[in-house]
């Protein structure tokens, strides 16, 4: 039986016999974001998980601060920091199996690192030595995607292809609140629902699209409410609560894996830094607003729970700190080395085989480079 056949053919019936094709009730999100940390349910969370998340979050935060520092030293062209959003970044990576695929947006270098990518290669795009620093098939992770929302249909297509092939693969795509306004968001979710593709959509609602606040982006009760319009479940979660995000994503991934189709997850979080190092956030939001979120920091939320349960001992803290610092030091050091680039690479991957025209142009550049080298040599 084909995927299409499984859906059962829709036969339009005159309204007297009409009925809703799916019950909308289970698709609607709860009225408030799902939380675990800071609630009674927190005590049920396994210590190992809390400790693991803590280590990842601390390391993630350190990655953000180190990358931002590298922009100041001119070692990185630009960095869109995910400080404050580390719970989402980490949970997105941890919710997946190795065989699953991740589709990050341009802000999600941290998710890529949490998935196991070399922290330096995760920055290739932003450093400017190439467009993508890794083989997507090796990491089962699409290139960091600059044109907003455009990678969502890719995730759907890949998930659909895997399902057709009978492979057990789930695709998780990440997007911001602003990106949900794009037509590609709509088309991707619709295709996913019609095809019942094993896909999960994670919207990080961090309150802003550069300077534009959510109220100018949507009038919806929540972004998760969009799900019912596609016939998939919408879930709302506290995006700073790593345990909650992991749980909600885990459930969505499980449903997708079991043939239950796609899910839309809205994680409510906050972008603590400016849009990128080049942005000036004071132009569009008051400092007090940022301050109000400090008490709800994703690292802090886990630390509070660890402390309450007496799990935050000196040994763990030191190990976590040292691990993060070692990562940062390594990153700093390796980013301080200039990458060696071959300009002839410009022509290598435009097509599988170079066209006559590109061969001619490559020859022209080669001649120019040789002439340059000669002049340089003569100068010495």
């Amino acid at each position: 039986m084909t995927v299409m056949e499984q859906r059962g053919a829709y036969r339009p019936a005159p309204p007297p016999a009409w009925q809703a094709r799916t019950d909308p009730a289970p698709l609607l999100p709860d009225a408030a974001p799902y939380r675990v940390l800071g609630t009674d349910a927190a005590s049920e969370v396994a210590p190992e998980l809390l400790l693991r998340l803590h280590a990842e979050l601390v390391r993630g935060r350190r990655y953000n601060t180190q990358a931002t520092a590298l922009t100041k030293q001119g070692r990185l062209a630009v960095y869109p920091s995910s400080t404050g959003q580390e719970a989402c970044e980490i949970a997105a990576a941890l919710a997946l199996q190795e065989r699953d695929w991740l589709f990050p947006s341009y802000r999600d270098t941290l998710a890529a690192v949490a998935r196991g990518l070399d922290p330096v290669r995760a920055l290739t795009l932003l450093r400017g030595d190439w467009h993508t620093g890794y083989d997507p098939r090796e990491y089962r992770m699409a290139p960091l995607c600059t044109p907003l929302a455009t990678q969502l249909p890719h995730a759907v297509g890949l998930a659909h292809a895997a399902r057709l092939k009978g492979d057990d693969v789930v695709a998780l795509a990440m997007i911001g609140d602003g990106g949900t306004s794009e037509g590609d968001f709509h088309e991707a979710l619709n295709f996913a629902a019609v095809w019942q593709a094993p896909a999960v959509f994670l919207v990080q609602n961090n309150g802003f699209a550069i300077s534009v606040p959510l109220a100018k982006q949507t009038a919806a009760p929540s972004l998760a409410h969009k799900a019912v319009g596609y016939g998939m479940p919408g879930r709302l979660v506290d995006g700073n609560d790593a345990v909650a995000v992991l749980e909600v994503l885990g459930e969505a991934v499980r449903r997708a894996r079991e043939g239950g189709g796609p899910t839309l997850v809205e994680a409510v979080t906050y972008r603590m830094d400016a849009h990128t190092n080049a942005d000036d956030a004071t132009r569009y939001r008051p400092d007090e607003e940022v301050e109000a979120w400090r008490d709800h920091d994703p690292v802090l939320l886990v630390e509070r729970e660890l402390t309450a349960r007496g799990l935050l001992d000196e040994e763990h803290s030191r190990a976590v700190r040292e691990d993060a610092e070692a990562m940062a030091a390594d990153l700093r050091e390796r980013m301080n080395q200039d990458p060696v680039l071959d300009p002839m690479d410009l022509f290598t991957h435009v097509y599988a085989e170079q066209t006559t025209q590109l061969r001619e142009q490559a020859a022209q550049l080669r001649a120019e480079l040789e002439a340059e080298a000669e002049t340089d040599g003569a100068d010495r």
Binding site: T2, P136, D184, V350, T356
Partner: protein, 334 residues
């Protein structure tokens, strides 16, 4: 000695056969688009494919061109070879971003790790009495985008061969199907072995010595007709069918123009900013001292595609081509 049944086939049938054979030979080939399944496409090119291969191999998608091409990108990432149908030229525009920002660049973005073996079939051109947005010739957009191949057949046999080659290509191909040639017929034996030639080769459709008409797709038959009519004026015209706009076959084109010393580029797309400018410029760069006259262009006017009742005034016809040939400064040279 075996006799092969050579029957007349239309270009639409040859395209359909190419899709069928590709689906049969390669399990990674998937056909998708609006109405391509049960209906067999509005031009019936995909007729019978869903019945033969199931609707997971030939899929009616939701009505959203960016979604169609965008999901095809994801399928290609997973190793499939999608063949996407855009229902009409102008309805490919919603997919423009996916095409330009992803399909054309994905191989390059990833240093070759993620090739995009996607064929985007786009029925194009006018002359069928279509209402607005149904008759665009949008090849200039695709030509200006590195990473894409742009291919268009003019004969029944090429329709098969070029489509097979496009599907077999490891790079994305915008495959432009001349709408008004869908019903053109030729003797063609679908069961004889069909050579799949590499893309990028132009062909001389008619040899001649006076001047070269350089053209492609729907204008090829018009140019052949013009060449016949030109005999009465004493001109022996060569007709080059480009078949592939990208990559461009500089060799065949330049060789012809060097031989004849005169050239006219003919296409339906609007003249200004259209393919003809690039083609004329390339020829001039390569054949300057062989040219007895500037390379001229006969193209659609620089206007939005006209309504059906006026389209004949817009489309390059035999007379307009002969007028251009007459302006090739015959007094000046050989």
């Amino acid at each position: 000695m075996t006799t092969v049944a050579v029957k007349p086939a239309t270009m639409g049938q040859a395209l359909g056969r190419a899709l069928r054979d590709a689906l049969a030979e390669d399990p990674t080939v998937h056909v998708m688009g609006e109405d391509v399944g049960t209906l067999g496409g509005v031009f019936r090119v995909t007729d019978g494919l869903a019945a033969e291969f199931g609707d997971d191999r030939c899929t009616d998608t939701p009505l959203a061109e960016a979604g169609i091409l965008g999901t095809a990108v994801g399928m290609a990432m997973y190793g499939l070879r999608p063949v996407v149908e855009m229902q009409f030229d102008a309805f490919a525009y919603p997919a423009f971003e996916q095409l330009m920002s992803h399909v054309a660049r994905m191989r390059n973005r990833t240093r070759g790790a993620l090739p995009m073996p996607i064929t985007v079939r786009v029925p194009y051109g006018g002359g069928i009495g279509g209402v607005e947005h149904h008759s665009d010739s949008s090849e200039a957009y695709y030509m200006a985008t590195p990473g894409l191949h742009v291919v268009t057949p003019a004969t029944v046999a090429d329709a098969y061969g070029l489509l097979r080659a496009s599907i077999a290509s490891d790079d994305p191909v915008v495959f432009l199907e001349p709408k008004r040639l869908y019903w053109s017929k030729a003797e063609w034996n679908p069961d004889a072995p069909q050579p799949v030639e590499p893309l990028g080769k132009a062909v001389v459709r008619r040899a001649g010595r006076s001047a070269t008409l350089i053209t492609y797709g729907p204008s090829v038959p018009v140019c052949l007709e013009a060449a016949e009519a030109a005999r009465a004026e004493g001109w022996d015209l060569e007709v080059v069918d480009l078949r592939s706009l990208v990559p461009f076959d500089d060799e065949t084109v330049a060789a012809s123009v060097r031989r004849t010393g005169r050239a006219v580029v003919v296409h339906e797309a609007t003249g200004f900013g259209g393919p003809g400018g690039e083609i004329a410029a390339r020829i001039t760069e390569r054949c300057f001292h062989h040219l007895e006259a500037p390379v001229l262009r006969v193209a659609g006017f620089d206007i939005p595609y006209p309504p059906p009742m006026l389209e004949r005034h817009h489309l390059p016809g035999v007379d307009r081509i002969l007028d251009a040939v007459a302006r090739l400064q015959w007094e000046a040279g050989s």
